[in-house]
Symmetry: D2
Subunit: 329 residues, 4 copies
């Protein structure tokens, strides 16, 4: 049976997900919505589906799930609307920047009996999945230290940063989720340091662009995250897990190209520039996973509840940064 | 203006090329032919085109080019038919195993005024293109030594090998073309050694599965090719160019995954298994290049004539192997 | 002029330093002292010097410097004795586990007008020196994030750990000094987390074997250190500096050997096993630097004062761990 | 029992071997000879041995072996002299550029009942030994293809080239020996190509500086060697063995240093510059092996006979190059 899907929003990530649907043999994209009619029509033409309004998609009995790819402020209202209409929902993170609202929305989906999957795309990256597999199958033994490096090639516009909820809620949240994914145990205490070294003007509204975070679990496992909003060498995305029996890590991914050697040394290409290059297979896997959890009626591999927990940890990082104290979660 | 294309054959490579057409904004696949009607229909449904017979495709005035993805023995007749019908032709290599016939077909396309592009897919691989770029822009200086390593993960069926024209015409031919692509000068003399170490039974019909070849140009540049029909570690595809000012090389590509370290050392994944994984971007680039040379009315970046020359060198390798002599081309 | 040196202690590190002296064209080892006369004689025979008591070495007018390679509790008394005798002193870290005593000793050397160089060997490692050079010459721009990974292959005996001053003063202190060396600015605040995952019995006397530390400078630069007393894959020693213009890092060093590829992947050797393999060139460079600072009458590149500062930061880590608070230094 | 050794010659390689003797607990250097008395005295002072004439060394009953480190033309006469005096001989390769003379000398040593070990230093390199171990223990299965890359950073002076016996006898001979070491079977046929691309003036006396060689054994195993007298990126020394069960290879060794990443990519250091850096551990191992074969009275791991065979193959390469034919050995 084919899972029929609608998509809300037509930005870059919507294109990635539409391609993900094309690559899912059991799924079909049947409708798209965008505030701008022309844009929706063009998108519909490209992917062979219809343009429709949100109500039309919610009311279509053939559609079993929707992919929400709109800006953050619209997430909670859209999730609630589609949950009420009985549609399973895949939504880009975060559910909401306000944790109480986020909990409400997650509860709403639960009460409506629909699945709510959150776009923690990195959980679906082949190399990070391989890291997780080496934990699950005992290869590295008991996890002791997790290192996560996440650096964007360049800072977002200040206007974006201003409404983003801050570095921890906007960027680090992916790493916090990854830390949970790899630790296999929730952190109970956090220390966060940060500073505005790339864009000093964002300090004005209390934001930072360079950060270091330590998470610790009840059993003493530790995860360390470092973030920067600037990396001249590309999109730096590494995870490493040190355990009692060994270490496992995912290497950075370079742009395609050759290695050149001469009297100055050996030079290979910079890293893939940003998430739309780096995480293509992850986006595809993510949509396949959403389709599969609908088809098999199983729990999504990244739930709304995961989003709430990651947000709670991000809030704790924010508190630690601003109070100068270690914070219990 | 959109370039409308037909495709002949529906095997794995036809699927790769159909995907390549989807990724070419200026091209559209409008018809497919296969001997088996059901298979053609399924292919047509998948890619949104019609199933048709060869004559129908040749006669369709909207179609400006065809992609020939059928077995080698059918290539020459199909190229001639479509050339006569005024269609530009992209054909998987080789044009024909017989060099005289191959020349005839190339001449026929030329006389008909259509382009004949040959599927030397490796010329379109991003890392090999980067190697070539480092030659073209002077980074490595004058080319002196070219090293090409090409090893298949496993041998083809004996039945296939028997009609393949032998290792040099079937497998090495890609490397011979790559050598020309990188040397920037045609080889004039060749020494070839080979043996049947993987499948001793193929020696019966004079074939080999393990080979070493040296090509030398008039100016003294040398290219060395090593081939094997067996590589437990995956599809081994490397090129290296040593020049007066430096070296440039394309590294092997590994399966996605993680690195694991323990008391036994650090282990990364094997190589991507075979050409359908390794050369996905090359296949896409190749079709884009075919579309572009039609749209811009330029010379294809890998012509029928290139195919004839590569075949002539392969024949020289065969002669060198069997006579035990160095052969002038 | 040849710098004549005495050495106190005959353990592994004394052998490394004696070799370092042999490799220093301008230096000569003339005397050795050890509590056990036989051992001192054997050492003397091996390196072509005389065995003598501490007083004899202190009184020898030909000797201009001494290398103190004895256990930590003897450092301060020996430094004071030789300083009083007008000898320049190279001493293994730490000066003393008690910071007040350490300051006293440093002051004593200063008052005596002799140089006191501390064995922060990592400052002399060629790859770490290259990292520092890339900072000094502006290659990586302003330093923003420093990552230091330091993991021992196995824990020391519990008896050793009990008197070592704890992980931060015994092991992390090297990383704290390296952080200062790379940050180019002293840290002003520290957060430290730790747990006893490898040897739970050391928790009894308040020690840990797995730790994460964040250091932050007044200008907002951050350094992150992770430590473990267990690494099945060898002696893990990495530093990475992310700056405004790029990143520079020192890779781990593997045991000599080959790479093997097969269906399980590509495997290279584990890391060099421990400091006596990993830091051979650093030990040699360190002794050369000591000889040179005597010959040129310049400041040693790692002073007693550096040791006091590193110890103060280690004490702050200890306080942060046990109070659960961020600590200002 | 300590093996007492004399050394003839005081060049760079003599220093390397003297250091090798220092690192051999069971050996002692007792005498050195050099044509220039002052130089011999300085060498003697440095290594704590006496300067003596050749006759004195040959007549010293305490000396059981000699290390011949003089220019090639003196090798045969010195070997014969010391063999006659009953000394075991370690000699830098080659025994003699004339194969008949070389055979004579090897026979002389045999008749005298002394060991004659040849300085094929690469057999003692840790990474090449690991490659060989992976063959010997069956890890890579049956050897099928051997690839040897050997490129010098720069050409020798023309004056040296003129008397060197040509590239094959002077440089390739190391690779020919390595090919034998790894093939485990002697080659029976060879094809050699070469040209003078680096120093065109050497073509005048028939020499080359860029070469490609294929060796084939009776069972069909192949070894491919590529050589150049120029490599801007350092001393390029790689071996790779492809077998029925896998591949094993020794990676190039880089100068110590750091990796720098920025918008131009990731750059690591060039290769170690030449043999005196690259093969330090090999030189040490080689001398230890000579001492051990004397102490244990066993066959040296690289004999005069190995030198004769390598020279015979080099002669065959020369013949193949100049006749344009494949040559049987």
């Amino acid at each position: 049976m084919t899972v029929k899907l609608g998509i809300i929003g037509t930005g870059r990530i919507a294109h990635a997900h539409a391609a993900g649907v094309s690559n899912s043999p059991d799924a079909e994209l049947v409708a798209v919505n965008d505030l701008v009619a022309d844009v929706a029509e063009a998108f519909a033409a490209k992917y062979g589906c219809r343009a429709d309004d949100v109500e039309g998609i919610a009311a279509d009995p053939d559609i079993t799930g929707v992919l929400i790819c709109t800006p953050t402020p619209t997430h909670s209202v859209l999730i609630e609307k589609f949950a009420k209409a009985g549609k399973h929902v895949f939504c880009e993170k975060p559910v909401d920047l306000d944790i109480e609202k986020a909990k409400e929305v997650v509860a709403a989906a639960e009460n409506a009996g629909v699945k709510l999957m959150l776009g923690f795309n990195r959980r679906f990256d082949p190399s990070f999945l391989a890291v997780r597999a080496a934990i699950d199958d005992g290869t590295v033994g008991d996890v002791e230290l997790v290192l996560i490096t996440s650096r964007d090639p360049e800072p977002p516009p200040v206007a974006y940063a201003r409404v983003s909820g801050g570095l921890f809620r906007d960027m680090t949240i992916h790493d916090l989720d990854m830390a949970r994914f790899l630790l296999g145990e929730d952190p109970v205490v956090v220390s966060a340091h940060g500073s505005a070294l790339v864009s000093p003007d964002i300090a004005e509204f209390g934001d930072i662009d360079t950060a270091s975070v330590i998470l610790e679990t009840a059993s003493g496992k530790q995860a360390v995250i470092t973030n920067s909003r600037r990396a001249t060498y590309g999109y730096d995305q590494r995870v490493e897990v040190h355990g009692s029996r060994g270490v496992v890590y995912a290497e950075n991914q370079h742009e395609p190209g050759a290695v050149i050697g001469n009297e100055n040394g050996y030079t290979k290409t910079p890293l893939q520039n940003f998430f739309m290059d780096r995480y293509i297979p992850a986006y595809t896997n993510e949509i396949k996973a959403f389709v599969k959890c609908i088809a098999d009626d199983t729990e999504p591999p990244a739930t709304g509840a995961d989003g709430v927990i990651a947000l709670r940890i991000a809030d704790a990082c924010f508190e630690s940064l601003h109070t100068g104290k270690r914070v219990r979660i």
